[in-house]
């Protein structure tokens, strides 16, 4: 869901996209594209979308939703489009600080925790809204405590540093 969703939040396509990246980077993105392109036909299509949704836990995506998203896309998602849309975004890791500050916007008193309900409201009702399933994914991976508080500092730390560890 997240990968494809990013397409619709990007600016326009840049025809000179290949010059934006080094050869080595392009090779890496090609690999990422191939991984997502499950039926190996050179396009990320409806089936890949649906499978991606399913893989990320969203088994109930309606056909209309998928069609809507595909309609909004500039065209079938081939490698060039893919590269334009999320070459940077796929590899780029926001620094821990940036994300922490984003959370802190909702925690002006700096308590380090946020109420689960508030997080839900904040993420599912505005901007690039989370679906209920996505919200559930976050809370399953990072369960709030018995009082219903989400330790966002820990969440950010684990995701940032957990992945660093996996890269070793």
């Amino acid at each position: 869901m997240s990968l494809i969703y990013l397409i619709w939040t990007a600016e326009g396509a840049n025809s000179n996209v290949f010059s934006m990246f080094e050869q080595a980077q392009i090779q890496e993105f090609k690999e990422a594209f191939t991984i997502m392109d499950q039926n190996r036909d050179g396009f990320i299509d409806k089936n890949d979308l649906r499978d991606t949704f399913a893989a990320l836990g969203r088994l109930n995506v309606k056909q209309e939703e998928i069609d809507e998203m595909l309609k909004e896309a500039p065209g079938p998602i081939n490698f060039t489009v893919f590269l334009t849309m999320f070459g940077e975004k796929l590899k780029g890791a926001d620094p821990e600080e940036t994300i922490l500050n984003a959370f802190k916007v909702f925690d002006p008193e700096g308590k380090g925790v946020l109420r689960k309900d508030y997080v839900t409201q904040m993420l599912t009702t505005q901007a690039d809204r989370f679906s209920p399933e996505e919200m559930e994914q976050m809370f399953t991976a990072f369960p709030p405590d018995v009082a219903g508080n989400l330790d966002y500092k820990n969440l950010v730390h684990v995701i940032t540093h957990g992945e660093e560890k996996d890269q070793e």
Binding site: M1, S2, L3, Y5, L6, T9, Q23, A24, Q27, E28, E31, A32, T34, I35, M36, Q38, N39, R40, D41, T52, A54, A55, L56, K89, L90, G92, D94, T98, I99, N101, A102, F103, V105, F106, M122, L123, Q126, A127, D128, R129, F130, E134, Q137, M138, T140, A141, I159, G162, E163, D166, Q167, E168
Partner: protein
């Protein structure tokens, strides 16, 4: 309305905007994290699958080696017919068709396992169920009797079995079963209320194959109308040699393994090839090809095709293999590239094998693919990539490869029949149209949606259900829903690697899917944890692959390296792909496999850093060591066969003899004295015999980071 209010509104507006920006950041960041996790999950899957299929290609080497042995010398040690010639020669042993094969076997008083009485009743199958849950082994006498009765029953069945939903409730369809118990616990034991079709692959892998297949046959005898078995590609004695079933039988039934294996061979080849439900749903294990003809299929004598890996003998003789074999081999090792004959080569095949594909797979596809187009022989490049020096030739071309340069005559009926069955048992669907040789597996075809469409139309069918491929969700649809893959073994590669699924279909012929996942862990793993676990296991297996191909890889790296002894990431990826041919996302995997030098180039030596052999192998040259690592499984199988009394020991003479043959066949240039030294060094107690379990232990790849607390094995053990 006034300055104050508008400032307040503006401030509010700013806050809202800030909040939204913050929310966007968090949402995008978390989604990217989930996406990266999903990518890891997928490439982990790719790793498992490609290694598995690479293994399947290797078994063709083994089968060609057996044929080579059989053709080139009579007996290993001069005594009577041994297991190997029994296995190789499809001539039926009449003794096994008589009841005395089991009647004469005494069952001791002390035996506490199930004592079956035929014809079987529910109490017998229940006894089997409880016995197996308690890890009991069924006595050889009953195994033989069960197989004998199964053989009798199967002989009466046609190649294609027709079922009707009007007499039965919903039919349950499973494929690739390893955990019989899991499915029947959820869905119910086979009975009139719960009829089953088991779509092949009942054995190999895991240590409980005998139990599973005994239960399946027991239920088949008990409920022949409600229990249906299709043959799979693992119901094949050659595959069993490679994938563990033969070994399991030999270990559990030391005295009677010969007869038991022989009867299994007969029974497997008598299993029906296909099942059709209500004349509309075709169920086969692998798939179809553009040559599949159900009427022809129904007419052949299916038991004659004992193994997909034994090419019909007549054709081999026609082509006079033995003589040309040696010469062709030598020619090939010096000829890096040859002009490719025309062949259908689409992207489905090319993702799994580039033009420098493993010649065992390409040769097998030439022999195992459609003889209709003899020019569709895929190219046969040398296994080592052209850039690699030819003094290192660890792998060699199997003898089947020699078929490539000689166009086969128009196929005799034998071969046509064999191909019909092999296509059914081995083929995989692909998205592109057309039908091409399945180079990934070395047998059968890739069939496209047009092939499916044509066959279904031709026979008035509406759906093809098949298994043969492990799917992450346990099932997958393709060809616009006309083909369903159903795979019932969850955690096939690793804990959490995939779900299992089965299908239920009733009179309305709409398949319903049931998924499950077995978890050994008592607490549920988070997605991250299970991805990480599966990924770790896949990477280990991949590193072992690197280790066992070290010489070739190093040679490749050295050709590209600069003065500092590093290579670029692209060069690194190229070498890996050309040697290993696994079609994996190497650049994505690079951080797990190799370190970067400060200038961003790859320090390729770091690929091999954290692995080492089981015991120090001072006497063994690198060539020999790698070969032994790579062929460890095959060598083990051969030892098992030579070791007639199953003592775990073979004589030094036998070891030497076998090894010489093996290396001659592989074309390895190994000094004879190196073998002798090796043999002597392994004979720890100097009594002229080798404990080959210990020998093989030495050639197991050890991961250094795992090994910290384990005591030294191998050399320090005493009998």
């Amino acid at each position: 309305m006034g300055c104050g209010t508008s400032v307040a509104t503006e401030a509010q507006g700013n806050m809202v905007e800030t909040a939204m920006k913050a929310a966007v950041l968090i949402q995008q960041w978390f989604r990217r994290y989930m996406a990266r996790l999903e990518m890891r999950r997928r490439y982990t899957w790719n790793i498992f699958q490609s290694i598995e299929y690479a293994g399947e290609q290797d078994q063709l080497q083994l089968s060609s080696f057996f044929s080579f042995m059989l053709d080139n010398f009579t007996q290993l040690n001069g005594s009577g017919p041994d297991l190997m010639s029994q296995l190789m020669d499809p001539a039926a042993d009449p003794w096994l068709d008589r009841e005395t094969c089991y009647n004469l076997i005494p069952v001791p008083e002390s035996y506490t396992g199930p004592r079956l009485s035929f014809p079987l009743s529910v109490s017998d199958t229940n006894a089997l169920l409880s016995a197996f849950k308690e890890q009991q082994v069924l006595h050889a006498r009953y195994v033989l009797q069960l197989l004998y009765e199964t053989k009798k029953l199967l002989k009466q069945m046609p190649n294609i079995v027709h079922l009707s939903t009007s007499y039965t409730k919903e039919i349950t369809i499973c494929g690739g079963l390893r955990l019989f118990f899991v499915v029947v616990v959820q869905n119910g034991l086979p009975s009139a209320e719960t009829p089953y079709v088991f779509n092949g692959d009942f054995v190999d892998r895991g240590k409980k194959s005998i139990e599973v297949v005994v239960l399946l046959f027991a239920y088949l005898l008990l409920y022949p109308d409600y229990m249906h078995l299709n043959r799979g590609n693992h119901e094949d004695h050659m595959m069993n040699l490679r994938y563990g079933f033969t070994k399991e039988v030999m270990q559990k039934y030391k005295t009677h393994s010969c007869e038991i294996l022989q009867l299994f061979q007969d029974v497997f080849s008598l299993l029906p090839i296909a099942t059709i439900v209500d004349g509309k749903i075709l169920i086969v294990h692998g798939g179809i090809s553009d040559q599949t003809d159900l009427d022809f299929l129904n007419s052949i004598e299916r038991h004659k095709v004992k193994s997909a890996l034994r090419f019909p003998r007549r054709s081999l003789e026609q082509l006079d293999i033995n003589q040309s074999c040696g010469q062709l081999k030598r020619m090939r090792s010096t000829d890096g590239s040859r002009p490719s004959s025309s062949h259908s080569h689409d992207s489905a095949a090319s993702t799994s094998s580039s033009s420098s594909s493993s010649s065992s797979s390409s040769s097998s596809s030439s022999s195992l693919c459609s003889p209709r187009t003899p020019s569709c022989l895929t190219p046969h490049p040398c296994l080592s990539s052209p850039s690699i020096s030819h003094t290192i030739s660890i792998l060699q071309v199997p003898f089947l490869d020699s078929l490539s340069s000689i166009p086969p005559p128009s196929p005799p009926r034998d071969e046509q029949e064999w191909k019909q069955i092999v296509d059914i048992l081995w083929s995989d669907p692909k998205t592109q149209e057309g039908c091409s040789p399945n180079t990934f597996r070395g047998g059968g075809c890739y069939f496209g949606p047009d092939v499916t469409q044509r066959l279904l139309l031709q026979h008035g069918l509406q759906l093809l259900i098949r298994s043969h491929e492990c799917k992450q969700e346990g099932y997958e649809l393709c060809h616009s829903g006309q083909v369903i893959t159903i795979f019932s073994a969850s955690n096939y590669y690793e804990e959490g690697s995939n779900r299992g699924a089965y299908i239920k279909v009733g009179r309305e012929l709409m398949p319903r899917f049931y998924q499950y996942q077995v978890s050994r862990a008592t607490r549920k793993l988070t997605l991250t944890q299970s991805v990480r676990a599966a990924e770790g296991s896949a990477l280990k297996a991949l590193k072992e692959k690197l280790f066992t191909h070290r010489s070739e890889l190093m040679s490749g790296f050295q050709q590209h390296q600069n003065n500092a002894g590093t290579v670029s990431v692209s060069e690194w990826a190229e070498v890996l792909e050309s040697v290993l041919r696994l079609d994996l996302p190497w650049r994505t995997l690079r951080p797990h496999l190799a370190r970067l030098a400060p200038d961003g180039r790859v320090d390729y030596q770091s690929c091999f850093e954290d692995m080492e052999p089981g015991i120090p192998l001072a006497q063994v040259t690198p060539n020999l060591a790698e070969t032994l690592f790579r062929y460890r499984t095959d060598i083990e199988i051969i030892f098992n066969i030579i070791d007639k009394d199953h003592s775990g020991l073979i004589s030094i003479e036998e070891f030497r003899h076998t090894w010489h043959l093996f290396s001659a066949h592989l074309g390895i240039d190994i000094d004879n004295s190196a073998i002798d030294d090796l043999a002597r060094s392994i004979d720890f107690n100097k009594d002229g015999s080798i404990d080959f379990t210990e020998f093989l232990e030495a050639f197991r790849v050890v991961h250094k980071l795992d090994n910290k607390d384990q005591p030294l094995n191998g050399m320090l053990k005493y009998p």
